[in-house]
């Protein structure tokens, strides 16, 4: 079966003009995500997880390797992939509705249809009634939900999420994780999720990809194997802890090495 998303030997080199050095950010990343899967990427700081996501989305061009969506090579951003960034980055001069339809506008969907679709997803993320609010009137969590609706409304083949809950407080973050699973179950999307928080990665995903320290490569892929639907209480389960320990030790390896290097 063709993977929904495939990364083939992605390499990325930077040239730094100031220090006149070549920096390798990604050193051959290979990854496959199947249809409907929820896959997370974790790794030590600076390992290139976010950079990799930008390459998948087409915002950065890889130095070598290919990205394939449903078997076809992609090189630039397109409606088949939508990103949810850590910063909600809502257009402050537009209402919630105006923000959610933005992507649809960019691909030429008509106003009325865009509005209908947007309302559906605004409702799905739990913000029904807030269509005419401005971003400054919303809390951080609500802004992220608008961000999520904006991505979902594009009906992308793949949803890319770059630490979307990192700027939320711990309680809101936990609540959003649970909500995300509900929304994901309803929307049925394929998700690639980057995060620093290991418990978040395990809780949300079918598989967790552990990146090595810079330069970034796939160190190991761990299958979570815990049945769904998942309650937040799962985080105190023994099986959960076992997986957490495993991932921590993998990451610690690399963090130590880079510290003593």
């Amino acid at each position: 079966m063709t993977p929904k998303l495939e990364a083939q030997d992605i390499r990325l080199d930077y040239f730094q003009p100031r220090t006149n050095t070549r920096l390798t950010a990604l050193a051959g990343v290979n990854l496959q995500v199947m249809d409907g899967e929820f896959v997370s990427i974790v790794g030590p700081s600076g390992c290139g997880k976010t950079t990799f996501l930008s390459v998948v989305d087409g915002l950065i061009a890889a130095s070598a390797g290919r990205i394939l969506v449903e078997g076809k090579v992609v090189t630039r951003p397109g409606p088949d992939r939508a990103v949810v960034f850590q910063d909600a980055s809502l257009l402050p001069w537009r209402t919630v509705l105006g923000n959610v339809v933005y992507g649809l506008e960019c691909v030429g969907i008509g106003k009325r249809e865009a509005k209908t679709r947007a309302s559906h997803f605004i409702d799905m993320v739990g913000l029904a009634g807030f269509e005419n609010h401005y971003p400054y009137e919303l809390s951080g969590g609500m802004q992220q939900r608008v961000n999520l609706a904006r991505a979902l409304v594009m009906d992308p083949k793949i949803l890319l999420m770059d630490e979307p809950f990192a700027s939320l407080d711990a309680q809101t973050r936990e609540a959003m994780q649970e909500e995300l699973l509900h929304i994901w179950a309803k929307a049925g999307k394929t998700v690639l999720f980057v995060t620093h928080q290991i418990d978040e990665a395990i809780y949300l995903s079918d598989r967790v990809v552990v990146f090595s320290g810079r330069p970034g490569k796939v160190k190991e892929i761990i299958t979570v194997g815990i049945e769904r639907p998942r309650a937040l209480g799962l985080k105190r389960d023994a099986r959960f802890h076992a997986i957490e320990d495993r991932i921590w030790s993998l990451i610690d390896d690399d963090t130590d090495r880079s510290r003593h290097a």
Partner: protein, 278 residues
């Protein structure tokens, strides 16, 4: 709380402002009429004379008011001057906007264009643009063209410079969002850069309004037969100080009205901003 205190607190801004203006007017009137001189004579003796000033120097609120009444409603002479100045000002400001905004936006967007025009913008900005007046008069004479030109010179700079700054300080995260949805340059400009620039442009407009006024007055003083600036200059040389004040106050009023209009537009257009004032 008594009703007096209540009233004051609710209208604090208007009350304080009005009281200060009234006190200034009373002080002014007293200077011309000699109220303070007379009152303090017993205490200061001879030197109290200093507290009364001749009307050709300072005029007085009542004199100015009656001159204004005459000029506006009896002879109607001032309306022609107002129309004359307004024509030059309006044309100059419009031209400054039409030139300044695209120029500034282009300079913000295209790095090389900015490098190319930087020397000129900086030079113009650093000089008092009215120093160009003699040159302008040599080029286009002393008619409408000269006045419009000097107003354009004065008003175009804040507009262009602010427009450039607006583009340069567009939130890069928003540009990232637009790019991630595949927005092309034109859409990026229309949906992200332009709306982001509007507050800057309106602020620049307020600056341009004030500077344009300078252009009106100086341009006319230098070489025009009619207009508010010319009227002020002529009245001044004849020591008709009351008329001078009428002219000055007319300009002040015009400026305040225009700025108020811009502020109303700003309020309407920036409904999306979180309120910051206390």
């Amino acid at each position: 709380m008594s009703t007096k205190e209540n009233f004051y607190l609710r209208h604090e801004r208007a009350t304080l402002g009005t009281i200060m203006v009234l006190m200034t007017l009373i002080f002014w009137e007293g200077l011309e009429r000699g109220w303070w001189a007379d009152a303090l004579h017993p205490v200061l003796g001879e030197s109290a004379e200093r507290l009364q000033l001749e009307r050709i120097f300072i005029s007085s609120p009542t004199l100015v008011a009656s001159a204004a009444f005459r000029m506006f409603f009896v002879t109607g002479e001032i309306w022609r001057d107002i129309a004359w100045s307004a024509l030059g000002y309006g044309l100059g400001l419009a031209l400054a906007i039409v030139i300044g905004i695209p120029l500034g936006l282009a300079a913000g967007w295209y790095r090389r264009f900015s490098y190319a025009i930087d020397p000129f913008l900086s030079a113009l900005n650093a000089t008092p643009q009215v120093a160009f007046l003699p040159l302008i008069v040599v080029w286009v004479g002393t008619g409408l063209g000269a006045r419009v030109l000097i107003i354009v010179l004065l008003a175009v700079l804040p507009i262009a410079i602010n427009a450039r700054a607006a583009v340069r300080t567009t939130d890069p995260r928003l540009i990232k969002v637009a790019s991630s949805f595949g927005a092309g340059d034109f859409r990026l400009f229309r949906t992200i850069i332009l709306p982001s620039a509007v507050p800057f442009l309106l602020a620049a407009l307020r600056l341009a309004i004030g500077r344009g006024m300078i252009g009106v007055v100086v341009g006319e003083i230098y070489g025009s037969a009619a207009g508010i600036g010319a009227m002020i200059s002529q009245a001044g040389s004849r020591f008709q100080t009351d008329k001078v004040f009428v002219g000055v106050l007319t300009i002040v009023a015009a400026g305040l009205i225009l700025i108020e209009i811009v502020q109303r537009i700003e309020r309407r257009v920036e409904a999306w901003r979180p309120p910051v004032q206390v």
